[in-house]
Amino acid sequence: MSAYVFTGQQALQLEELLRVESYRLLSQVEARWKGKRGPKPHQLHGLHNIARTEKEVERIIAFTRHQSGKAGASDPKFWQLVGKELSGLRQKAQELAARLIPDLSQDKPAIREIHLRLVRDYVQHLRAELLYQQAT
C-alpha cells in the first residue's frame, strides 16, 4: 500500500498536532504500564526497530501477535496488551485526521499514515518507560 504524503500547510498542522499528542501519549504510557517491567531489553529494542522501520501498522501489530504466540514466550500477555494498545490508536488517528480537514476522516491512506506516526511514538515512549522501570 502506498503511503499518504502530507504536504504544505496540512503537513505543518499535522506536525503540530502530533507534537501535542506525543506528550499525551507519554502520560498514557506511564499510567498504563506503571509498575510493569515488560520483556527483556533486547525484545524492547526489537519492537522499537520494527516500529521505526515498518511502513504499515498492521505489520507492527502482527509482530506483537507473533511474539505473543511464540512457544516459550515469557510474557505473552504483554505482547497482547501492546497489540491492543497500538490498534486502539487508530481511533485517535481518525480524530486527528478530522481536525486537519473534515473530509480527510474518510481518507483511509491518510488515517493509516497518522496511525503509523502515533504507533511509532507510542512504542518510543513504551521502550523508554520499561527500560527505565527495569533499571530503577
Partner: protein, 155 residues
C-alpha cells in the same frame, strides 16, 4: 474594513502575548539559575556523566520540539545504565526527570500571568510550549554549572 481592524487587533494581542511570555521566561530562567536542586545535580553530573553526554543532553533539549523526546531520552539513558555508574548512579537520572516534570507547575504560573498581562490566551498548547521552554532553560543552566565547576576544578 472591520476585518482589517480585527486582524490588526489580533496581531497586537499576539504580539503582547509574545512579549509578556519572553519577559516571564527570562525572569523564571534567572530564578532557575540559582536553584539548589539544579546546582546539586550539576555537581553530581560531574562524577556520573562525560562531557559529551552533557553536551548531547543540552543539544537535544534545545533542538527538540517535543517534551516527550527529552523525557524518553533521560529514561532511556537511565535504563541503559545497568551498573549504576552513570545516569542511574544514586538516582541521578530520576532526580533530573522529576525536576523537569515539576516545571509543569511553573509553566502554569507563567501562563496564567502572561494571559493576564497580555489579555491574550495564547496558542492551544501554550502550557506544553512553556513547559518545554523552561526545561530548555533548566538543562542549559545545568550544563553551564557542570562545565564551570569542571573548569575551576571544584569538588
Amino acid at each position: 474594513m472591520n476585518t482589517q481592524i480585527q486582524n490588526l487587533e489580533q496581531l497586537r494581542a499576539e504580539r503582547a502575548y509574545r512579549l509578556a511570555l519572553d519577559r516571564a521566561l527570562d525572569r523564571r530562567s534567572d530564578k532557575l539559575y540559582n536553584d539548589k536542586t539544579l546546582i546539586g545535580l550539576a555537581e553530581q553530573a560531574r562524577t556520573r556523566l562525560k562531557d559529551t553526554q552533557m553536551r548531547h543532553l543540552e543539544r537535544l533539549a534545545c533542538s527538540t520540539d517535543r517534551l516527550a523526546d527529552l523525557f524518553d531520552y533521560i529514561k532511556g539513558q537511565v535504563g541503559k545504565d545497568k551498573e549504576g555508574k552513570g545516569w542511574n548512579k544514586g538516582g541521578f537520572g530520576t532526580v533530573l526527570l522529576n525536576a523537569l516534570r515539576k516545571l509543569d507547575g511553573e509553566a502554569r504560573t507563567v501562563l496564567t500571568a502572561v494571559r493576564q498581562d497580555s489579555g491574550h490566551q495564547g496558542p492551544e498548547d501554550a502550557l506544553r510550549q512553556i513547559h518545554l521552554a523552561l526545561c530548555r532553560e533548566y538543562v542549559r543552566h545545568l550544563t553551564a554549572h557542570y562545565f564551570y565547576k569542571e573548569a575551576i576544578g571544584g569538588g
